[in-house]
Symmetry: C2
Subunit: 388 residues, 2 copies
């Protein structure tokens, strides 16, 4: 009789997965389902990236690369930090990883001893706590203030810091709120965490997807930080599983050994794709897509305002808005299930993003489908709400 | 000041990496280096696999798949177990992973609580202990008997079992010895581990690469086992990072949640490649390559016999032989470094594969280059040994 580890046993399912499965079932039955639940762009990998991958394949580049990634890709990422963000990040500080998931795992395994605490924003990306639990760390919820758009304040973070806390993890732009941290807030966070002799871990995987302020990185403010990034979102390469991590240079050799042991190396063809993603031809396409997302965002925000459904987050970045549906339900999961069944609109219940708030008040909508599909979703939502 | 976790600090470097780096440096200076150190086939991904990946890309299949992999790929792997091995393994027991590395991580995170022991063969694949350490487990070395070709005996494994042991991990074919476990030995292992109320974890990533007995799987003997496999070696897809895990069905939902949290999903294009790898057109190519490997193996064994360098393992499978060089050195790492420098032949020192034996007596040679390159390597090795 095999028994599961305590770690594996405690991992809760994502509620959205059951909804997704049901959505697919309905589609198989011929229903038209509008997908506002999915956290991935609908654009597909940019053609120049695909072409680069095909060239790499034709040249037989299908073997292992170094564990930290192709030197040329590390250098290209470093160059991109200089060109787009004015940040000096030597290639030697960059480790290419199997998705941001790989980067998160490396970062937490490199920093956390069993029993040590990691402050995680609530609401936040639900997998973060499992990376902390994996290495025996203590996920410490840091409740964002619902009354002020779930904005993160450095003073509140300092107040939440416990004696056992070693790392504070923040995201900008954030999932599920779409909130961004201003350069000033980031500077305050850096100094709070430094004062506490901890490490600031910044998730920048939605970098570039911002609509009210320029794209930025904490790396233009300090070297004393660990950053997670990804080719999935802005670069539209989700299925290729390619991300990276930036760490202070003295930590990199050990992180590289970690990557060698845990992953061997990131996907080789994907890395050649990553190289092309950072070139001008791809960037031009990605910027057009960014502009499309900006229009979709406005379309969704206008529609929700018309429906008098309050967007409780700032929704300045990524492709998410966090919405209060408590006027209609005390159980947003049931609300999502019913909305899917009766109106064919799939959205994500708030309970997937934390436990500290009453997330049963909230739902997350992703604007990862076309404007006309978004408009249709808003119409169906309107009729659904009228029927309640 | 960021400090590394104890886990990250204790990971030793692979000695072969320093040799590889030096080999690349020598090549950059114009030297011809013969690579017998690399654990990956030199054949490149089979053309039908590449074509399938290109088709998938052209169809825009670059988004996330379910965490456990494409249902069609899980089914194709299940079918392959039936067709090639006569084993009934329902698709529901198969989880597709980012490489065998991903599968190893899932298996150990799913089975091991902090402080629980995992018996690991010495010599063995060096990363295994780091997967155990990651989750706070206790890697317990199980010394194979050098006097009998490092053959694994179930009785010896039972004797090595400690009160804290929960899992025994074995590989067939094995790295670095190339040894295979006979069906009888596997049956004995299954019953020993069952008697001890533990779990048997079998690494079958070199499955199909065998030269003296038919390919096999422990899954034709029992369902009560966890198996790791990979598209890297037999299927020549190293750089795509695609593997899989087989577990008893009741454990799979939790393993799937684990995969969802830790990896999101395996590479989508790679999975379409995996589907094609299991089809007849690819299998015919792979079987030809297998025959080439058989000839290379014989060429290398003949050459080593001529040089009177004892092959201490059975070398029945994978693409490795483990060789005793103690007639020439008491430090095989220094021997490897000198051989590279003076003869341009790169091989792997035994110290990378364990600590329990005097691995400074041994080196691992991989027959992952052509017969003519192998012959050249043997000539250079002969001259080098004469010069000592």
């Amino acid at each position: 009789m095999m028994t599961l580890s305590r770690y594996a046993s405690q991992i809760p399912p994502f509620h959205v997965m059951a909804l997704l499965e049901r959505a697919q079932q309905l589609e198989a039955e011929g229903r038209d389902i509008l997908h506002l639940e999915v956290g991935e762009p609908d654009f597909g990998t940019p053609p120049p990236v695909m072409e680069a991958i095909q060239r790499a394949m034709a040249q037989g580049r299908t073997g292992y690369t170094p564990a930290a990634g192709l030197p040329a890709l590390r250098q290209a990422i470093s160059d991109d930090y200089r060109e787009r963000f004015g940040a000096e990040v030597p290639a030697a500080r960059i480790v290419v990883t199997p998705g941001a998931s790989g980067a998160l795992q490396l970062a937490l395994a490199a920093l956390i001893n069993p029993g040590e605490g990691v402050l995680l924003c609530d609401p936040g990306y639900p997998c973060n706590r499992q990376f902390v639990n994996l290495v025996g760390g203590d996920p410490q919820p840091f409740l964002l203030d619902a009354a002020s758009h779930f904005d993160l304040s450095a003073a509140a973070l300092e107040a939440a810091w416990l004696p056992s806390t070693r790392v504070a993890m923040v995201a900008s732009p954030d999932n599920p709120t779409g909130n961004m941290l201003s350069p000033d807030t980031l500077a305050e966070l850096v100094s709070v965490v430094r004062r506490r002799h901890g490490t600031l871990l910044v998730d920048e995987i939605y970098q570039g997807l911002c609509y009210t302020q320029p794209a930025s990185t904490v790396l233009s403010q300090t070297d004393d930080v660990v950053v997670i990034n990804s080719f999935s979102k802005y670069f539209c390469m989700t299925g290729w599983r390619l991300g990276w991590l930036v760490a202070p240079e003295p930590l990199v050799p050990a992180i590289e050994r970690l990557a060698q042991n845990l992953f061997l190396a990131p996907s080789t063809p994907a890395q050649y794709g990553g190289l092309a993603a950072l070139e001008e031809a791809s960037m031009a396409i990605l910027e057009q897509r960014h502009q499309l997302l900006a229009r979709r965002r406005q379309c969704l925000l206008n529609g929700l305002a018309h429906l008098k459904l309050p967007v409780v987050s700032r929704a300045d970045g990524a492709f998410y808005v966090y919405v209060d549906v408590s006027r209609y339900t005390h159980d947003s999961h049931a609300f999502c299930a019913d909305l899917l069944e009766r109106a064919g609109v799939a959205i994500t219940p708030g309970v997937d993003f934390g436990e500290g708030h009453d997330h049963k008040r909230y739902v997350r909508l992703a604007y990862t489908c076309t404007e006309s599909r978004l408009t249709e979703a808003l119409h169906r939502l309107e009729h659904y709400l009228e029927s309640l």
